[in-house]
Amino acid sequence: MGLLEVKGVGKRFGGLQALGDVNLSVQENTVHAIIGPNGAGKSTLLNCFVGKLIPDTGSVMFNGQSVLGRTPFEINQMGISRVFQTPEIFGDLNVMENMMIPCFAKRDGAFRLHAFETVENEKDLVEKAEQMLIDVNMIDKRHMNAASMSRGDKRRLEMAMCLVQDPKLLLLDEPTAGMARADTNNTIDLLKEIKEKRDITMAIIEHDMHVVFSLAERITVLAQGTPLVEDTPENIKGHPKVQEAYLGEAH
Amino acid sequence: MDAIILQILNGLDKGSAYALIALGLTLIFGTLGVVNFAHGALFMIGAFCAVTMQRILTLSYETIDATKTDFLGNALKVKTPYVESWFGPEMGASIIDWAVPLAILFSIPIMLLVGYVMERGLIKHFYKRPHADQILVTFGLAIVLQELIKHYYGANPIPTGAPDAFKGSFDFGTLLGFDPNTVIYPYWRMVYFAFAAVIIGAVFAFLQFTTFGMVVRAGMADRETVGLLGINIDKRFTIMFGLAAAVAGLAGVMYAPINSPNYHMGMDFLVLSFVVVVVGGMGSLPGAVLAGFMLGILESFASMNWIKDIVPGIDQIIIYLVAIIILLTRPRGLMGRKGVMED
């Protein structure tokens, strides 16, 4: 039984069958990549995990519970954190404040009217957030305005914000999209580091084969809304079906 | 039945004014992304173009009539408009009588100019500023414009009649088999409705069938991409602002005979037209027009006696009530696009 069990998920948008009959199982403590050419339905699938979309058919079970029909914040409270294709951070706040928000969410749940406490006085959480910033090498930028940082730093911050919640499952939506090669390599290193430091399950949607093969322990190949194969990176590399699916693709 | 026909006509008439103002608001919002709180003031300036035209035509010289006395007991000064002495009393009188239609010609260049100056002088600097700032600065401008008008024209309404040819009303009822004089409608109000229909049609045709319009529509949909194509969209948007001002101004000129213009008529319409725009859906031109007519008609129905007997005070709140219901059932109004002004 995997941490995330996807059974028979299908989704139509009008006349377009975005997802056919997707079955997928993400095992605990593995890095699972979902790859496929443009329009294969990767993002649609991811949106079904986090509550943004509800599939027409099938089930998505996380840790033995269905996530379908739940809102994004409920699913996050179950233990799934998500990193977006373009970093979603709180631009008007500084780095430390960005970090405190997931800390509060983790401790206090989806809503608490803590109007008469002071952020600075939450020593445990401040310490936790600072430790996380140290881990991702951003501690010297803690007072910086988040919007004024480079894209790479924003990505780093977003990941830190997700990781500080100790998620059971971390979903990454093309974490290196639009990045220069150097930045991509930094991100790969960061993710590897994270993987080494803590027990975490990751599901990555990715386009870039370099990233996939550097990180993934298992790979699902998606084409036209249905999974072609699921296997280890080594086996996927030489798989004829995969090559066929990617024929003519730039990657 | 006759009552309902009449209220539909009333509604179309009120709706014409709402729709014309809302159309201009939406043009400005859709193209420039600016929330223009001074739009009501443009409508008001339009109406005062009619007043000014009337004033110009009735510029008079004074002669003393010794047979009559004024309120102080002095000999009465009789005013004779210059046009009457130039063209003869009858011709002159009929020229004055046609002040409002003449004001249409007079108002178009004025409104275009007002729009151009407003856009280049002020609005331009607010494209990238938050909507709250745009609201504040245009609201300030609206106050300034209305106070200036108040200073020179006073606070009282100023009667600005329609030409005699359009006075009186048309008896619809007899065409439809009702008793005479039960279903009648004033000519000028019918003119107003027709005029609104023509203007709305013209604006849509302009946007639909001219290259200029196509570029603007594309700009409304995706400003950056159009900008990337190397098209000078800003210049076209300036023209669009002038156009929107002209639409509001024409709506005002034609409205003058329906209700005597006063300096705060713009503010009276402003809030309602915002409700109309939002109910129609931000940025949607057909939505604005549709919502304008819909709310006008509903408002008219709500003022019918038997409805007021059932729900007292319904005519006071109907527009807001409908707005709430529509916004709760259709999140982005009748025809709004996703993501516009939602943050």
């Binding site: 809102t71 979603e88 008007d92 404040e97 600075e120 | 106050i143 300034v144 709760l328």
Partner: protein
């Protein structure tokens, strides 16, 4: 101290000191001098500064922190006033029950309106709140006259029951509003040289409450709750994917700011026991928006400054008439005097609206951050002069997030 950081404590004490000294600060010109027209140190206006300060502080909790622009906040102010006056009519002229009821009723009202309106965001939210407030105003003016006394406004009369208090005062009139015997209208007048300072009980009552309100909002700004509200303003998507439900946060902010408005309304009625329907009109809602933007959205001091600014112009400039102008400019030669007065007339007396319109535009054009930004710029200039040649230019430091208290 008081759960505040050092900087905030200092800030709070400055505010307390300024509030306490208001009767002196607002009376800079001697009585009878030509400039005494500009003095604002009389009870009614000082009370209004404090009360509208509270209103704007509350509004800023919603608009400044979450970015939700309510265009119907005056409705809560009006509801607060009506509740308070009803308490004066039924219970007693003690202001306490009135103010408490005002806060409770406006809170409930805000809960209902907020629950519905917060289903939408952006301008759709603004229009929903506007619609609710306009409905309240229109009905209060007409159909609800039995409750609101319509056009005239709800007043206390000699026939009211006032079961816990005096029905008629000893002098045969309606008893004055009081706080356990301390009459709101009572003042201590102290003449100093040519000046006369008025220390009014009602003002200090409002001032104490305003300081409490300010302190509370300072705590909210610094609290995790306040942080969440600011997060809502910048990125609701991220907030939802971080496991936080934005709806109860925005609703709580809406209700809290509605209660602030109700408190302001209750105080307004306590200082002057009348509740007029115009308090709920869209122009009144717009006024608090203007106050907040004019002062500086999301800053602590901004809304208070904005409230003071607008109320000052409304009450002082509208009272300057031609006679006063003649007094001022009588030293000029005749022709010039005539011209100066002709120009000035546009802006004072019946032209005070024009002045406020021009000032709104000037502030937004030249001070996008409101009056607070103006203050900061002046402060910076002074600082720069001091540290001239120091080379310690602020711009060479990494950009820091602006501190919300500034």
């Amino acid at each position: 101290m008081l759960g505040l950081s050092k900087k905030d404590t200092k800030f709070l004490f400055i505010v307390i000191a300024l509030t306490a000294a208001t009767p002196i600060l607002l009376q800079p010109f001697p009585e009878g001098s030509a400039m005494s027209q500009f003095n604002a140190g009389y009870p009614d206006l000082m009370q209004r500064f404090a009360i509208f300060g509270i209103f704007a502080i509350g509004f800023n909790i919603l608009f400044g922190l979450t970015g939700y622009l309510s265009f119907g906040h005056a409705a809560f102010l009006g509801v607060g006033s009506y509740s308070a006056v009803w308490m004066f009519k039924l219970l007693s002229m003690n202001v306490l029950p009135g103010i408490i009821l005002a806060i409770i009723v406006s809170g409930l009202f805000a809960l209902v309106i907020g629950y519905v309106s917060l289903r939408r965001s952006g301008i759709y939210f603004s229009i929903l709140t506007l619609a609710f407030a306009q409905m309240s105003f229109n009905l209060a003016y007409s159909v609800l006259t039995p409750i609101t006394n319509g056009e005239t406004g709800l007043q206390v009369t000699l026939n009211d029951p006032r079961i816990l208090g005096q029905q008629v005062a000893a002098n045969g009139n309606v008893p004055p509003t009081n706080f356990f015997g301390l009459e709101m209208g009572s003042s201590l007048k102290i003449p100093v040289g040519g000046w006369e300072f008025t220390f009014n009980a009602g003002y200090y009552f409002c001032a104490v409450i305003a300081i409490l309100a300010f302190y509370l909002s300072l705590r909210i700004f610094r609290s995790p709750f306040g942080l969440m509200l600011r997060a809502i303003k910048t990125n609701q998507t991220r907030l939802n994917y971080t496991g936080l439900n934005s709806r109860p946060y925005t609703l709580a902010a809406f209700v809290i700011s509605g209660m602030y408005a109700g408190l302001a309304g209750g105080l307004l009625a306590s200082m002057d026991p009348l509740a007029g329907a115009e308090r709920m009109q869209w122009t009144a809602s717009g006024e608090v928006v203007l106050m907040t933007i004019l002062g500086g959205v999301g800053t602590m001091m901004g809304p208070i400054l904005g409230a003071g600014f607008i109320k000052y112009f409304e009450n002082i400039f509208s009272k300057i008439n031609e006679n006063v102008l003649h007094q001022w400019f009588s030293f000029l030669p005749d022709g010039l005097e005539g011209f100066v007065i002709w120009v000035a007339e546009h802006f004072v007396g019946s032209g005070w609206h024009l002045t406020s319109g021009v000032l709104f535009m000037m502030v937004v054009i030249f001070l996008p951050g409101g009056l607070v930004e103006g203050g900061q710029r002046i402060g910076k200039k002074l600082k720069r002069k001091k540290s001239d040649g120091d080379g310690d230019d602020a711009e060479h430091h990494p950009k820091q997030s602006p501190h919300v208290a500034e």
